[in-house]
Amino acid sequence: SCCLFLYFISSEERHLRANDREFNLSFKYANNAIKTSKYNVFTFLPLNLFEQFQRLANAYFVFLLILQLIPQISSLSWFTTVVPLLLVLSITLAKDLSDDITRHKNDNHVNNRKVEVLINGELKSEKWMNVQVGDIVKLENNEFVTADLLLLSSSEPLNLIYIETAELDGLVSNRFIKYSISILYISGEVRCEPPNNRLDKFTGTLTMRGETFALDNERILLRGCTLRNTEWCFGLVVFGGPDTKLMQNSGKSVFKRTSIDHLMNVLVMFIFGFLAFMCTILSIGNAIWEYQEGNSFITFLPRADGANASLSAFLTFWSYVIILNTVVPISLYVSVEILRLGNSYFIDWDRKMYHVKSDTPAQARTTTLNEELGQIKYIFSDKTGTLTQNIMTFNRCSINGKSYGEVVDFAGQRVEVTEKTEKIDFSWNSLADSKFCFHDHKLVEAVKSGSPEVRAFFRLLALCHTVMAEEKTEGELFYQAQSPDEGALVTAARNFGFVFRSRTPETISLVEMGVPTTYELLAVLDFNNVRKRMSVIVRSPEGKLTLFCKGADTIIYERLHPSSSKLMEVTTEHLNEYAGEGLRTLALAYKDLDEDEFEKWKERHHEASTSLEDREAKLDTIYEEIEKDLLLLGASAVEDKLQDGVPQTIEQLAKADIKIWVLTGDKQETAENIGYSCNMLREEMKEIFIVAANTAEEVREELKSRLLGKKSQVVEDEKVDGEYGLVINGHSLAFALQKDMQLELLRTACMCQAVICCRVTPLQKAQVVELVKKHKKAVTLAIGDGANDVSMIKTAHIGVGISGQEGMQAVLSSDFSFAQFRYLQRLLLVHGRWSYLRMCKFLRYFFYKNFTFTFVHFWYGFFCGFSAQTVYDEWFITLYNLVYTALPVIGLSIFDQDVNDRWSFQYPQLYAPGQLNQYFSKMAFARILLHSCYSSLVLFFIPWAAMCDTVRDDGKDIADYQSFALLAQTCLLIAVSVQMGLDTYYWTAVNQFFLWGSLSVYFAVTFTMYSNGMYLIFTSSFPFIGTARNSLNQPNVWLTIFLTTILCILPVVAKRFLFIQLKPTINDKVRQAKAVPPPLPRKFPRRRISTRRSGYAFSHARGYGDLVTSGRFLRIPVKSRPALFPHTDTMHTETLDNKITY
């Protein structure tokens, strides 16, 4: 292969000798110490500052600062820029510092873990960081794997070891090793690939005693796993510390930005342009003024040597850049970060997203994406582990025409099964699995009373399977099932007294109602996709030959003896009922065999199984011969348990106009079945398209026929009459995702209410997400729990990981994580919506207040000869964003709620504005600009007109610059504060406190700064002495403030009122309606009863039959690799899809 080739030509090939530190150290391989921290004590300040100044906003402020230091330009004192800049820098500095301290702590913790290392033939305890490449380490049960190890030996039989890929109780996967070497004397040499991040590949050789062995991934144990159920194992360190695959994979996460971020960047660019535009106008004005007026004013204000009108205009341009810089306020970025962080904490703190059973709270792992949660248009969901629990439970069965498993009350009414429903006590059976629950007493009674059919039923379940049993301690059985369905059936048999205990290639040992019984296993007629059934032929201790068969009902029915026809009818009814409930059903049948007949068949079977050509087909025919004239026993129904609240959640999200696509590795039938049981596909849908073609042309045809038939040829328009569903399999998807067919796929898919893609690879999952992202310009969310979802989680705008289930892979690469799919509705409909609302309100208000603030300067330019004179006191300019208006707007954007969470759930339609970008867009920005323009006109010209020719009530001056500045800034602050009040929907005490507090602080600070003391101490910094005292006691000042406030606010109120009356949004309606408390969320029926026949409960790959009979069955093909870290897109589906039912 290509990789192998690369490996051989690579000069960086790794070469190491076991137990030979001197030799290994000569290569200077990294040791096992890791360093994730970025700084140390000395580098922190310079490095961090250097990084910070690389940010555009900070660099811009340094540029402003430099401008301010040029006396000819400086229109503001240096502190107006330095104070905010320092504040911003120090906040970031503090945050980075605390992050890095945490990283240092984690590093220290990990580096100081102890492990036993074999040094000079003795085991010594060493710190992890001192472990070198080439060392042999001994791991004990439940220990973390120290580094990437080459497995040498283990305590378990056949040198198997078990590992867990995550700290949580998740997948225990086993892996086996070939060599049992006397490790103490090992002197092997390993040559292998250089460090890389491929988790699924390892190439290398081990040379030992002259022999060379090839090494592959199966023999490598990766750092990040935990040893489980294995007493000890030895391993040779191949990669240490930073070279391990875990570390090589980390730190490469994609940096996601929200659409608002992108919009903000565009707007900031626009604002820069706008700033330049304003400054240009003002500097042209200055040139004209200087030319016409300034020349004549030279008498009073001589120019500097060599200065003329054009130089003055040039300098004025920069002076105005400084003054008007508040349109791009530095505090914007800091505030955005703060409020996102706040909203992230609310997600972490939400008890309604906390899962009690697994003690898992929701977690916002990325704190910069919150508002995008309010804009989701497409959800891509994994199935297993996300929608379903990946737990199969034996739920119902029909034995000899009698249906069991339904719980009825005394009146004979069907009862909903809940946590509280009384469970059957299986204590009479010492081997019973305590986790198994069943609620129908009749079945136990039937077993106990010795009903032969019931016993045969469970005997069949206990015999006809390929499950393997493990009994570590007496009576503690652990089943290794190839599919959870099988496991569920065998466990059911176990609890009802037919305990499958162990097997050898030739026998199956049961404990039948307490009596150990051993059956001779004569043949396993294994499952495959065509046969859709499996059979076993066993000889009972009494010597009776029996064939037990289970399979899809239709298949079994074809092979029944005519005598079973009556039973068949009854059973079919039951099967329909089960299927309607979304259960996965199997029909069970048996047949007693004749010794002679069997011997003959066995010969032919032997012939077929040894033939070299066409063996499969021949075997199938042979099987067909004996699997006939069966006698029906009944049917079993297994529930593929959905996570709690999945159908309701999907219904809610659909109401919020969010499209849900299920992308699963499962087979089509299973996926469809789940589609129905969780309400995505519905009986009343007009049609469900199924695309399952094998060539590109066929796929194109199938897609086209849907399109042309529906006459929908627009990509954007998704409105079609009636509801449709689309089911497409992975094979077709591969073709459909090709460039020329993508759009057709998308068109068809967007017509449909529900889309289900089955048998998809992780890469395809990501491609589908990418396709929608690219062509629909919509915000996407991917939710999943397994390693196979990682690529899609990383591709989508928002990745959500289900935590506490199978492993941490998905969670580690996700942006948000929680324990249950149903929390998604709260995350989106409540937190997402609020975050979006808050962010938009924040931005709207923030831009409004800053534009208004700045435009007043612009208007004043026309009265002060465009000389870049500020309207406000410099201190006001410094503190406006940082102190006077900072907290109220943060309070607004952290606490605001338009309606509370119950109403949000009641009306999922409230979610729509986010999807349509209604609250903050370029249009909204333009409106803000106009609004600010109006407000600034009011805020400048009203005080101007009121003050320009007036005096105090004692005849003294009030039209002076300082009084006017105070008046203008007070008008501005009060007007924007009232505007803030108008924007606030949810007045908590904190909001009140912030708003009133900020206003009081303004007056307090103003009076302080304009006081005698301040002036006498810092004469040149506080020249406004006495201004507050002399002008704020004047009635006309307050009359002016009142007038400007009214004129700024009332138009807004009138406009909003008119819109509420004329074109109320859903939001307005709900807000108006909410005087009435919302009704409690209604209970959804657990299942819809439908007539659809559900899929049969079998796995979709060939069974374990061969293994079971081969005698090598302990050597299970590696079930799972430790895919515990973020994966690269190139990973193969085979290795990741293992959690679907194989």
């Binding site: 007026e293 004013f297 008498t299 009073f300 204000l301 904490y345 609310f346 703190w349 939400d350 008890r351 906390y354 709270p361 977690q363 002060c864 000869g865 000389s867 004179q869 606490f895 709620q897 969470d901 007109a945 009121a946 320009c948 020719d949 007036t950 005096v951 009530d953 004692d954 005849g955 003294k956 002076d960 610059y961 009084s963 006017f964 929907y985 949810y986 908590t988 904190v990 002036y1015 004469t1019 006495g1026 005292r1029 002399n1030 004047q1034 009635p1035 006309n1036 009359l1039 007038l1043 009214i1046 009332l1050 109120v1053 009138a1054 909003r1056 009122f1057 509420i1060 009356q1061 109320p1064 309606k1069 108006q1072 309606a1073």
Partner: protein, 354 residues
């Protein structure tokens, strides 16, 4: 974020059930309902109307008179003389007659007004040294560089007060004569002190320390007067020696720069102690005689004498009453429109249906 809470137990990581963390803080959520919005509009309209009327009535009973003396009367000659600021040493006197149609009852204030004089230019406003004018000795002899080029004279002597603002101080002196019908001439007595802010007079502006033996003149030893001034700062007022130096009222008034290019500054307040002025400024003919020093021709400005009264809410000003009346009207119109819309559309509640 990924913080793991300390502690163990089955529910150790359960978030606190506090109103804050669960976003259930008690709150008031007002909304724009017709019941709140419409009455607010009507009430505000009424408030503005009443305020407007009150202000208007107040203003109607106060008067203001402006006498532009730039080149009026006999001042044309002085105006031309002052075209070139260099000729400031030649004194020039002129008179302008004017008529007061109605008696100004009560306190009357005399202002000098300047038009098109930009006291609000950034470089102009920066060109002063507050530290010097608060009487600091160091700054007196070493004015701030902001004052350049009015910080040192050609001989390198520090200027006190330094800077363009002080340098360009208004230096016309105005005398108003009342000409009753009997042909006599009575000088209108003015208080020329107490015309500045208390804080300016007492805190912001201070003379360098003096005492009985150390006169103000000595305190200013080593400094020179601003270029355009005829007298040094310690001789600004030759009548009242306490009104000299940086605490001279006219200087203080001037140093409080105007926000806009057209402004008026207080010159004096009518002394109603005696004569015909006890009730205010009687109607009749007046003569304004001017020591015409301040050049306005270079910047195409105008100078005027403003005689005005004040009201309870501030200076005589028609803007506020009219603005309030107009606003009241606008609010009323809006309120009527909103009411109409509400009655036609909103009341039926149709728009609120799902």
């Amino acid at each position: 974020m990924g913080k793991k809470q300390a502690g163990t137990g089955p529910l150790s990581r359960r978030p606190d059930n506090s109103a804050f963390k669960q976003q259930r803080l008690p709150a008031w959520s007002p909304s724009l309902t017709p019941q709140t919005v419409l009455p607010t509009f009507y009430i505000l309209s009424l408030v503005c109307l009443l305020l407007g009327i009150w202000l208007l009535i107040t203003v109607e009973y106060t008067y203001e008179l402006k006498v532009d003396y730039t080149d009026a009367g006999t001042c044309e000659q002085c105006f031309n003389l002052r075209k070139h600021a260099i000729d400031s040493s030649t004194p020039c006197k002129c008179t302008v007659s004017f008529h007061v149609p109605k008696t100004f009852p009560g306190d009357v204030f005399f202002y000098y007004g300047l038009r098109n004089f930009h006291q609000n230019l950034r470089r102009y406003m920066d060109s002063r040294d507050d530290a010097q004018m608060v009487g600091r000795k160091n700054n007196l002899k070493a004015p701030s560089s902001y004052c350049a080029p009015f910080d040192y004279d050609a001989n390198g002597k520090p200027i006190a007060p330094c800077g363009a603002v002080a340098n360009s101080m208004f230096n016309d002196s105005l005398t108003v004569m009342y000409n009753p019908t009997d042909g006599s001439k009575i000088q209108v007595p003015l208080y020329r002190k107490g015309i500045a802010w208390y804080t300016d007079k007492n805190v912001k502006f201070r003379n360098p320390p003096t005492n009985n033996t150390f006169s103000l003149q000595q305190a200013f030893e080593g400094t020179t007067r601003p270029l355009y001034w005829q007298r040094p700062v310690y001789e600004l007022d030759d009548i009242d020696s306490n009104n000299n130096g940086f605490i001279n009222d006219d200087l203080i008034v001037w140093m409080r720069e105007a926000a806009f290019p057209n402004f008026k500054k207080l010159y004096g307040v009518l002394n109603r102690a005696q004569g015909p002025f006890t009730e205010g400024l009687p109607a009749g003919n007046y003569t304004l005689s001017i020591n015409y020093n301040f050049p306005v021709e270079p910047f195409r400005g105008r100078k005027e004498l403003v005689i005005s009264m004040v009201t309870w809410f501030g200076g005589q000003n028609y803007f506020l009453p009219i603005a309030y009346l107009v606003t009241s009207g606008l609010i009323l119109v809006t309120a009527v429109v909103l009411t109409t819309v509400f009655v036609k559309v909103g009341k039926k509640g149709k728009n609120m249906e799902e």
